[in-house]
């Protein structure tokens, strides 16, 4: 079994300048306590890989508000005017990737693959600098794997082995990110005794999880 840690202690172990994957889609399925603590500890110079930057004051938007991010790879930033403002002011570099491609690049990183071939974005601006490979007369883009130092994951339930179950659309990028980072931090709605999540219901096996955050305890 794993010991749980306070959110303060967990974030102590995330260095400034880290490459961080953060689960969530417009803040749904995003570990808010871990993000709040990154802001409190002022961990800056971060490189983020995430679907979006939510909105100001919500989820990843809080890291943008606090100017802690130097680079973000995402599929969509349209809902966060502050991300766009920092990008135009050249305070922040944004790389836009199609959402399905982003999911596959993260999956490749975690699944030990050298890349993925997708028909998405062939011939578009998003294909610039990428290799094209023809298979059976059809063009594909070679998209390379993404890995990270840290993944911040949000689950519905987590047991004391770190087994995770997600709920509904809060699942999104969390399962692939839990595979693609060196160190995995989990924040869950409920911490439950081992055995409470049936084996068939485990979405992410606990062996992938390094830190289980107990949001109910102080530092």
């Amino acid at each position: 079994m794993k010991k749980t840690t306070s959110v303060t202690h967990a974030v102590d172990n995330i260095p400034a300048g880290a490459i961080i994957m953060i689960g969530g889609f417009m803040g749904v399925g995003t570990p808010e306590h871990l993000i709040d603590e990154l802001v409190r500890q002022n961990k800056g110079d971060l490189t983020l890989i995430a679907n979006d930057t939510a909105r100001p004051g919500i989820g990843i938007g809080k890291l943008i508000d606090a100017h802690l991010v130097k680079r973000v790879t995402a599929s969509h930033i349209g809902t966060n005017p502050e991300t766009q403002r920092q990008m135009i002011a050249e305070e922040l570099t944004v790389e836009l990737v199609p959402q399905g491609t982003l999911a596959e690049q993260i999956r490749c990183g975690g699944f030990g693959l050298g890349g993925v071939l997708t028909p998405t974005a062939v011939g578009t601006l998003a294909a610039e600098g990428k290799r094209t490979i023809e298979i059976d007369g059809k063009e594909f883009l070679l998209e390379l794997p993404f890995k990270a130092d840290v993944a911040l994951i949000k689950a519905q339930q987590c047991d004391y082995y770190g087994n995770l179950q997600y709920r509904l659309t809060a699942q999104n990028f969390n399962p692939v990110m839990a595979m693609a980072a060196t160190t995995v931090f989990v924040e869950a709605e409920e911490l439950v005794p081992a055995g409470c999540i049936a084996p068939d219901d485990v979405h992410t096996p606990g062996t992938l999880v390094d830190y289980i955050v107990n949001t109910k305890v102080a530092a």
Partner: protein, 216 residues
């Protein structure tokens, strides 16, 4: 009935019973209102659900939203999954139809809807995957923007995909892109062919006869 409602009602006629459909944010979302519940149509939200539906007031679930981040409900028969699987459904050809908004469509039927360089950089989200791989792509949009034609000869904005979309539905017309060019198939009630062409930069091939839009 306003222009957007007219477009949504016409698009709803394209949706086959029992099919799996992804609706984009904004105008396309309105299409769902005009699809009868007994038609067994399932809607996908690319953030990870098949079977999204309306939500009674006060029944928000913080773990359940649509691709625009709005709170939704899950209908009986719904299924939830992660993003990699969700885009596997889209790229793998399992999605029958997508309905998306547009900034421009050109005479080759290519869509631009994700960026206005130097002005608006929202990002493509799921649009590139959807337009490239959905079995049928419908563009639902207001015909012009600030008096400027959006249906143009050659795209001026960066394209979303090189794939030719299947149908363009506006408040003036239904236009089918083909190898030969854009075919004007239907006009809205009270609109004539000359009016549609006057608001369109690309040369339209007029179908004989041009039908009047049927609305659901």
């Amino acid at each position: 009935m306003n222009a957007k409602q007219l477009i949504a009602r016409r698009v709803a006629n394209e949706i086959q019973p029992g099919s799996l459909v992804n609706l984009g944010i904004g105008l396309p979302t309105m299409v769902a209102q005009y699809v009868p519940p007994e038609s067994d149509v399932f809607f996908q939200s690319e953030n990870g659900i098949i079977g999204s539906g309306g939500l009674p007031d006060g029944m928000d679930n913080p773990s359940l939203s649509d691709a625009g981040g709005g709170m939704i409900g899950a209908l009986p028969g719904a299924a939830a999954f992660d993003s990699a699987f969700s885009f596997g459904l889209i790229r793998g050809g399992h999605l029958d139809m997508t309905v998306l908004g547009g900034l421009q469509v050109d005479s080759q039927g290519r869509l631009a809807n994700w960026i206005i360089p130097g002005k608006m950089v929202p990002g493509m989200g799921g649009a590139m995957d959807l337009v490239t791989s959905a079995r049928k792509v419908i563009v639902a949009m207001i015909h012009t923007a600030k008096g400027q034609a959006k249906i143009v000869d050659e795209l001026k904005l960066p394209m979303t995909s090189g794939r030719r979309v299947d149908l363009i539905v506006t408040e003036l017309a239904v236009i089918k892109p083909s190898e030969q060019g854009l075919i004007l198939e239907e006009v809205a009630p009270g609109v004539d062919v000359a009016q549609v062409q006057a608001h369109t930069d690309a040369k339209l091939i007029v179908s004989e006869p041009v039908k009047t839009m049927a609305l659901s």
